[in-house]
């Protein structure tokens, strides 16, 4: 089963010195994403399956094993979804995902 992810509109985000800084506008919690997480975040358009994002954006750039990378990505996305800064679904997400900063 595919997993789809989309950036929440209730956040503020900016790239700073190669890292993505994200603030939840809901509770002002701050998150810093590393390079790999930033690639996933940027590709979270709601319509590209997570496994394809990992294959095309992560495995293509970083030396990671695909199955392990997919498992890690799902954990990471679930954590961000728990803070309300990422939407996660088993079907494409029809939302107004903003262009990645």
């Amino acid at each position: 089963m595919s997993v789809y992810i989309a950036r929440s509109s209730a956040i503020a985000a900016r790239s700073l010195d190669g890292e993505m800084i994200i603030m939840s506008a809901r509770d002002s919690t701050l998150f810093t994403l590393n390079e790999v997480a930033t690639e996933i975040w940027k590709a979270a358009d709601g319509v590209t399956p997570l496994d394809r994002i990992v294959r095309d954006r992560v495995c293509a750039q970083f030396e990671v094993e695909p199955d392990a990378a997919c498992a890690d990505a799902e954990v990471f996305c679930t954590q961000l979804a728990g803070h309300g800064i990422l939407l996660i679904s088993d079907r494409p997400i029809e939302s107004k995902t903003e262009a990645a900063p």
Binding site: A12, R14, L16, D17, I21, M23, A25, S28
Partner: protein, 264 residues
């Protein structure tokens, strides 16, 4: 007969109007350095009414949008103003200057983000024409840094700094917002040269912070009196803009005058 007092902070004038002449005198004295008879722009007009009856019962210090304006308050006042008309009302306990002080703090915290600035929980002082901000939670040493400052240093605020972009950098403005034990700042401004995150320690040491750390610390100390997502987003952008242009240091210090030798 009313008292009209214009309090201008950061170049933003607010006219406080009251029919209570004694209250007018209290406000005039409280904000003395910031009262002007020649405002630099058309002032926002706030009418102070000594009646809390009929005001919303559930008052929160955190601003909530009200149509094209805002409302907020606490046990001793309730304020509403319209951004469209530039006018509003402060219902308050009779004879107290505290509601006007609280109103102005919150008012400016809501207004500044749209100008890419913000209020910061920090002391700010001017030395040799440049402003230095000392940031930290209560007890971090803001008032101590003010007390230890050399005599030629000018105090902008010992508690809340008013910071806004200007030219290629940022400018810090004096505010009348003082700590409980502090004194009122001077009504002047200066380019912000550096910002220091305070921590007391065994020796005086100033270390540059990464921009990510600096941004996180600034956001932690930004004064945001609202849960409004748009204001939070603007303050986030403003803090990240600032760390791109102003150096931020972690200042560990011993509370003696020598600490000022590390401030350059």
């Amino acid at each position: 007969m009313t008292s009209d007092i214009v309090v201008e902070i950061g170049g933003v004038p607010v006219l406080l109007r009251t029919a209570d002449r004694a209250l007018g005198k209290i406000i005039g004295e409280r904000f003395a350095n910031f009262v002007t008879s020649r405002p630099s722009a058309t002032p926002f007009e706030m009418t102070l009414r000594p009646d809390l009856e009929g005001a919303p019962k559930r008052r929160t210090i955190r601003g909530k949008r009200l149509g094209a304006g805002w409302q907020f308050g606490r046990c001793d006042f309730h304020a509403e103003w319209s951004s469209e008309t530039g006018r509003g009302v402060i219902r308050q306990e009779a004879g107290s200057g505290y509601p006007a002080d609280a109103f102005l703090r919150i008012f400016h915290s809501l207004l500044l983000p749209s100008q890419r600035g913000f209020l910061l929980h920090s002391a700010t002082l001017v030395r040799n024409g440049s402003a230095f901000a000392f940031c930290g939670v209560s007890g971090a040493g803001k008032t101590t840094m003010c007390r230890l400052a050399p005599p030629e240093v000018t105090l902008l605020s010992d508690e809340i700094s008013y910071i806004r972009p200007a030219g290629d950098g940022y400018r810090a403005f004096g505010t009348p917002f003082a700590s409980d034990l502090g004194r009122i700042g001077e009504n002047v401004s200066a380019p912000l040269k550096a910002l220091y995150l305070l921590a007391k320690g065994p020796q005086n040491k100033s270390e540059p912070m990464s921009r990510r750390e600096a941004a996180a610390s600034l956001l932690h100390n930004a004064m945001v009196f609202t849960d409004d997502a748009e204001i939070s987003r603007l303050v986030f952008e403003a803090a990240l803009d600032l760390v791109m242009r102003v150096p931020v240091y972690r200042l560990t210090f011993v509370p003696t005058p020598e600490v000022w030798e590390t401030i350059t």
